[in-house]
Amino acid sequence: MPDPTSILVIGELVDGAPAPATLEAIAAARALGGGPVGVMLAGESVGNAAQTAIASGADAVYAIESALLADAAPDAVVAAAAAAVAAAGPRIVLGAKTLLGRDVMPRLAFRLGTALASDCTALALDGDGRLLATRPTYGGNADATVRCLGTPAVASLRPGTVDALEADATRTGEVVAVDAAIDEATVRTRSIERVEQAASGLRLEDARVIVSGGRGLGGPEPFEQLAELATLLGGAVGASRAACDAGWVPTSYQVGLTGKTVTPELYIAVGISGASQHMAGCANAKAIVAINKDAGANIFKDARFGVIGDWAKVLPAFTEQLHELLSGSTRQPG
């Protein structure tokens, strides 16, 4: 039933389940208060994902199934999302700035006659129930809050800014099947081939510890020392854009506004100046440690611990000391 007080989340499926960012968006929609929360889920089959979404706070699921949605081509997902909006008639449409969301949400917004408040870090309603969206701009140097004037308002949430709700299997909700009339002609940008490096070891996004290197390392070789430290800590290696652009490490290492968003417990930045565009990808780490020879480097502003010095001298001693501490601890009982 179209409900002009409702909020519709544009969901995403990963291996048949709602993506973490989708569950976060549901939590954000609930936190806004007001009307019921619907979720669009689109795929070859939606199956149990609908129940997961309901358990995580959705009141309704708009399920769109089509073989053409199997590999989530943005063209097909935009069409599905537009059909779900037509069915739900919401006042707010909320997505997430995931890889898919980056393509789908701006296009959906323009298809609905408005624009997207993208990559939001905070959402609220004003006195008239209109959406106030806060988003980092100027690479993180200025937070802009905008009032969304479109009907519906369309926003996307930065992943990792809101915690998903605890799943509650006793919650109930309805599942509405929507026909989005997706056919071969819908998909106009066709995927010919998708090559993903088999993530050797730990994904940056899942790592509890990340050791990241920047231009200050001066070349590709020092990254081996970072890898050694990362292995010792059970973590992964990341990099700044400068290090990736220089070809020292693959672009898949890049952390930041246009790279990966990571949320480790510990982020060790070596020879990274801490440009706002880099920090946009790691500012939600629990603790940042910076090793930089420039006392004025911006990275120290965001760091919990800092060492001013030459990484080539600091890092080996740091790694060796950690090695001792950690091999000592394994001998202790418990």
Binding site: D75, R102, D103, R107, A109, F110, A115, L116, A117, S118, T137, Y138, G140, N141, A142, D143, A144, T145, V146, C148, L149, R188, T189, S191, I192, E193, R194, V195, R203, L233, D245, T251, S252, L257, T258, G259, K260, L266, A275, Q277, I288, V289, I291, K301, D302, A303, R304, F305, G306, V307, I308, G309, K313, V314, L315, P316, A317, Q321, L322, L325
Partner: protein, 259 residues
């Protein structure tokens, strides 16, 4: 292709000021062309080299332009520059008028097969004007390209993925957004710079484009612009020398159960 003049995103933090809901840089900071837009110029020029008869027109939207800055794509090798310039074309966070003007300009140019744009602008970081153009024109779009190839009727694009890449294909006309993985944009050479001097950009106002700016409904209004809060207390670890500081850092992290 589209290009935007922005504050230099490498501007040191200390030179940024937020005043009256605008971000300004200290007065000695010159504007630059948005970095990803320079990469889009580079992509366009590579296509021009590969495909005979390619004509590269640069569209830029704004209120006032630093001519020596915005002419850089011409010096790099683009054929034409059209400035969409009007007092109403302010650089605001809302993209609706930008999209309307660029779409009108593309229609006015007429014979456009491919629109190339940077993946996002380093000021508002909206990353949506190209999507708006594609939706308005009903053209397919491929985003975050590191390689763009055109053959007659189709465009083939290698897109950057977080852990790899994807090859996609679409029929022309189409919109493609370009990322830094495409490679460094070329430096203008002497001939290019001299050539660019002789090219006078065309200037199209809102009226020339047939748009009434007040009739384009904005999607947002800016409520506030503020420097983000920093919540971190930094503890500096010092030692007798760099190596000693490194060892002490390890001990502190252990104390805090961070390792």
């Amino acid at each position: 292709m589209t290009a935007k003049q922005v504050l230099d995103p490498e501007t040191p933090l200390s030179a940024f000021r937020i005043e009256d809901d605008r971000v300004a840089a200290a007065s000695n900071m010159a504007p630059v062309i948005n970095g990803f837009d320079e990469q889009a110029v580079e992509a366009a020029l590579r296509i021009k080299e590969a495909v005979d008869g390619t004509h590269v027109t640069v569209l830029s939207y704004g209120t006032d332009f630093a001519l020596d800055v915005i002419k850089k794509p011409l010096a790099m090798g683009a054929d034409d520059l059209v400035l969409l310039q009007d007092p109403a074309f302010e650089n605001v966070i809302d993209p609706m008028l930008t999209v309307a003007a660029l779409v009108a300009a593309i229609r006015k140019l007429g014979d456009v097969d491919l629109v190339l744009a940077g993946r996002q602008a380093s000021d508002w970081d909206n990353a949506q004007v190209p999507a708006g153009i594609a939706e308005a024109l009903g053209w397919p779009i491929a985003t975050i390209a590191k390689h763009v190839e055109v053959d007659g009727t189709t465009v083939r694009v290698q897109r950057v993925l977080p852990d790899g890449h994807e090859l996609v294909e679409a029929a022309l006309p189409a919109v493609v957004t370009v990322s830094n993985e495409l490679g460094a944009p070329r430096y203008p050479n002497m001939r290019g710079i001299m050539g660019a001097r002789r090219i006078q950009p065309a200037v199209w106002s809102a009226a020339d484009l047939g748009i009434e700016p007040t009739e384009v409904a904005p999607a947002f209004e800016l409520v506030s612009l503020a420097a983000p809060e920093r919540r971190v207390e930094t503890e500096m670890i010092t030692g007798d020398d760099d190596a000693d500081a490194g060892r002490k850092l390890a001990l502190r992290l252990r104390e805090e159960h961070l390792v």
